[in-house]
């Protein structure tokens, strides 16, 4: 239709203008542009626009994908999506380009005599099934395992859980969300008895103050951060950045408060002290809706193999809790945290002001923490003491990093202790799952096996012999990586990796299966605000690439589970989703039917009587509340949430004279996690071509290090050399360095520590001790 290039570019520019005008109209109702600009705008031309959730982060923006001649060529924010209202970030826009990298895996590869040989998908899947059977015969069911991802679609995770837990009969199912979200889960479970946020993104439109707890939203959740900034423009809402490093978020915030690593525990308690001391406690809320508990302290850090821990909650009263808080006066905490008593009081005053609606947001800073469950509990304490919870604008909100960490890992339950509904340790829950799965209940073992770190330790020890890894790159992301890489390469281990590009993880594989990516297949993701979003297949996957769901089904059938894996090739996504919904068929978690997901830009659960639930536990909005009160925390047997007494305890490894700096690791705006997709997008790769080490300018000056100089970092695990970055994107506090983990050529995780939160088993990637030298 558009034969001339000039015409085509002009057309595309008009399309771009149209998208922007539509987004502007959503954000500023009634906005006007000069009328001559609005005429002649195209309606869509020969691009076929289809809706999908974004492939990348857990914000879960709705995007429209423009498909032309069988290829995805354009992305725009979906103005109908309440998540992003037409906006889209740099990663979202480039997501379609990630499907077309030159080195896409298109054929299965099998390792023979140390070299990869191309084979057919049929043969590769035959080999996977026969190796799994052989391993079970020789070493038992608990010698096989699957390690998946928060980037798994809901049907991927469901098929994996049903195959391993229901059919094979092992709880060796884990996912990379253990590395990013597990502390959020245990935080929710211990405080409320049910996982996932009570509020939703609409809270942003109501809150007066946003507290960001160790959360660089400007880079990690850019579209939501734009919504925060928008509220500041419109309503003068305040943004307070509470972090260990100055970032783009700090620069954009109204106030940036820095604390020493790990001491957020002490500051959160000091805020509670101030709330109690100043009479800002919402007495009637606390009396009606809260209990007080304490648990075991000095839990250790999980550094040794086979470490185990079980908390013993003990009821206390408000008076005992108040007594405990006396150790956390702002003046005492100033000494521990480096945060001035004045700033602690400043934060507490916002939380305590009954006329201010407050939203707390966090992500990896609080979750990747050796006391991750505790710090989640402590931030809930602040909201519970003040009654600022489960109402529009009053919201403790745990953000997710991956597009379906909530939808797949947390809701489908692809963790060793979980089932889609409930936990393996509960007989009723096992019976319920077994009935839907059509398997004998005895199949599902009552004991969890290995959480992620322990699963890779078991692979190293030889307790696990077979591991299937899908949509994730643990040979970049595991802490103390060298041990786990060496372990995976040992004789007698068989590793299958399903992915779309070669990665350091495919390097350890015996079989590499090419996967279909995102809109090359059909599926659903679930984002941070309990929103389930459907996407159809829009383009064909390259070569023999196949969806992870169908790979699992093919292997399940080969292993003799045709009865349970009855799904048809044409309709298997619908069939799986319909079956999956049965696990959540109750007012507390009902999922919207597929037709509803197809028609809408996602739908939040609990979906009851044809309506989503925006604020859980609040009887005005949540039909599951049944106690006749304004609030009902029905996740707990007595309907009350728990305020936890949790102390400050130091990190597993703190700086000392030999290793005098903190090492903090994390992400950057341009790259999606390990960069396996975004490093193949030229503009993103060029914008951020390699990792670096950020230093505090004072430290850099003292060591005569300038940006670009090579710096050697040494920990008790090893050493690595990287270029320095001084006063660039981020500035760590003195005696701290920061390194992003996206670069497979500079594997920072070779030197990180595999300590974890004893309750959630989530590793702490933010804190270990390091020596810093000019190389």
């Amino acid at each position: 239709m558009y034969t001339s290039l000039t015409n085509r570019r002009a057309f595309i520019k008009k399309m771009a203008v149209l998208s922007a005008m539509t987004a502007a109209a959503t954000m500023f109702p009634g906005i006007l542009f000069a009328s001559d600009q609005e005429k002649n705008l195209p309606k869509g031309g020969n691009l076929n626009w289809k809706k999908a959730p974004c492939r990348f982060c857990g914000v879960g923006c709705g995007v429209m994908i423009g498909v032309e001649d069988g290829k995805a060529v354009a992305v725009k924010g979906d103005v109908n999506s309440p998540v992003n209202k037409g906006l889209c970030c740099v990663k979202g826009y480039h997501s379609v380009i990630a499907m077309y990298g030159k080195d896409r895996l298109t054929k299965p590869l099998v390792k023979k005599n140390g070299r990869y040989v191309e084979t057919s998908m049929k043969e590769a899947l035959d080999l996977v099934a026969s190796k799994m059977k052989e391993t079970i015969d020789n070493h038992g069911k608990d010698a096989v395992s699957i390690y998946g991802s928060g980037q798994w679609t809901i049907p991927d995770g469901y098929a994996a859980s049903k195959l391993f837990k229901g059919c094979i009969g092992t709880n060796n199912v884990e996912a990379n969300a253990r590395l990013c979200m597990a502390s959020a889960v245990t935080g929710f479970l211990t405080s409320f008895g049910l996982d996932e946020p009570m509020g939703c993104y609409e809270d942003i439109d109501h809150a007066d103050v946003f507290f960001l707890w160790g959360n660089n939203m400007a880079e990690m959740h850019p579209v939501l951060f734009s919504r925060l900034l928008d509220q500041r423009l419109k309503r003068d809402a305040k943004i307070i950045d509470f972090a260990t490093r100055t970032t783009r978020t700090s620069a954009a915030a109204d106030k940036s408060i820095l604390f020493k690593p790990q001491t957020d525990l002490a500051v959160a308690n000091a805020i509670c002290y101030e709330i109690v001391e100043n009479g800002w406690v919402n007495e009637s809320f606390v009396e009606k809706h809260c209990n007080f508990n304490k648990g075991i302290t000095n839990m250790g850090y999980g550094l040794e193999d086979n470490y185990s821990f079980k908390d013993k909650p003990e009821k206390i009263d408000f008076a005992a809790y108040k007594e405990f808080l006396k150790d956390y006066t702002p003046e005492k905490v100033e000494k521990i945290s480096g945060v001035s008593a004045k700033d602690i009081k400043y934060m507490a005053a916002y939380y305590g002001d009954p006329n201010k609606k407050v939203m707390s947001l966090w992500c990896m800073g609080m979750n990747q923490h050796t006391r991750g469950t505790w710090i989640n509990n402590l931030v809930y304490n602040i909201h519970l003491l003040t009654g600022k919870i489960s109402t529009p604008g009053n919201s403790p909100f745990s953000l997710t990093g991956q597009p379906s960490a909530c939808g797949t890992v947390r809701e489908v339950g692809t963790l060793t202790h979980k089932l889609p509904h409930g936990v393996v340790t509960n007989e009723e829950h096992r019976k319920f799952a077994a009935k839907i799965w059509d398997v004998p209940v005895e199949n599902i073992p009552a004991k969890p096996t290995y959480h992620t770190v322990e699963m890779f330790r078991a692979l190293d020890r030889g307790d696990i012999r077979f591991m299937w890894i899908q949509v994730t790159n643990p040979m970049v992301t595991m802490p103390k990586l060298k041990r786990y890489r060496d372990g995976a390469k040992k004789e007698g281990r068989f590793i299958v990796v399903s992915d779309i590009y070669p990665t350091p993880t495919t390097d350890i594989a015996d079989v590499i299966l090419p996967s279909a990516m995102w809109v090359e297949r059909e599926g659903m993701y679930g984002n941070s605000e309990r929103r389930t979003q459907y996407f159809e297949q829009m383009v064909n996957p390259p070569g023999e690439a196949m969806s992870d769901t169908w790979q699992l089904i093919e292997v399940a059938k080969r292993m003799g589970y045709e009865k349970q894996f009855y799904y048809s090739e044409e309709n298997h996504i619908e069939e799986i989703y319909t079956e999956y919904r049965k696990h959540h068929d109750n007012k507390k978690h009902n999922m919207a039917p597929l037709e509803v997901l197809k028609e809408n830009p996602g739908m939040q659960w609990p979906y009851v009587d044809g309506k989503p639930t925006k604020w859980r536990f609040n009887s005005k909005y949540d039909p599951a509340c049944s106690n006749g009160e304004e609030f009902h925390f029905y996740g707990k047997p007595d309907g009350k949430a728990i305020i936890w007494q949790r102390p400050y305890e130091p990190a597993a490894e703190e700086p000392d004279s030999e290793y005098p700096f903190w090492l903090n690791t994390g992400r950057v705006l341009e790259h999606w996690h390990t960069g396996s997709m975004t490093r193949r997008i030229p503009v993103l790769h060029q914008a951020m071509p390699h990792a670096y080490v950020e230093l505090n300018p004072g430290d850099a000056k003292q060591m005569q290090i300038k940006t670009g100089d090579m710096v050697k970092l040494t920990t008790r695990r090893g050493e690595i050399t990287l270029p320095a970055s001084v006063n660039e994107r981020g500035v760590p506090t003195p005696k701290q360095v920061f390194v992003p983990f996206f670069d497979e050529n500079m594997l920072i995780n070779d030197i990180t520590l595999d300590s974890f939160c004893p309750i959630s088993k989530e590793p702490d990637y933010k804190k270990c001790a390091v020596k810093v030298e000019k190389a």
Binding site: A20, M21, M27, F33, A34, Q37, Y93
Partner: protein, 80 residues
């Protein structure tokens, strides 16, 4: 050959200045809203290198408070 569109927010009282700064860049097309402090910006660059250079120029504009991306289009290679 990327074409992208953004919503550009000026600092208070500096909308006209922002219109002028953006309009002076060859790769930019600007459409101001008539009744809000907001501009639509469409950028059109030849390649990634030019795009990177443009980003540097946009970052240096002082009247620009916030730039949020809305859409992006990749033109096919044979369109060059």
């Amino acid at each position: 050959m990327p074409v992208k569109s953004y919503l550009a927010h000026p600092h208070n009282g500096r909308k006209q200045e922002l219109i002028e700064s953006l309009s002076s860049l060859e790769e930019c097309e600007v459409i101001p809203a008539e009744n809000q402090d907001l501009l639509i910006l469409v950028t059109d660059t030849e390649d990634n290198f030019q795009e990177k250079q443009l980003k540097g120029k946009l970052d240096a504009i002082e009247s620009l408070k916030l730039l949020t991306m809305v859409s992006g289009f990749t033109t096919q290679k044979n369109d060059k």
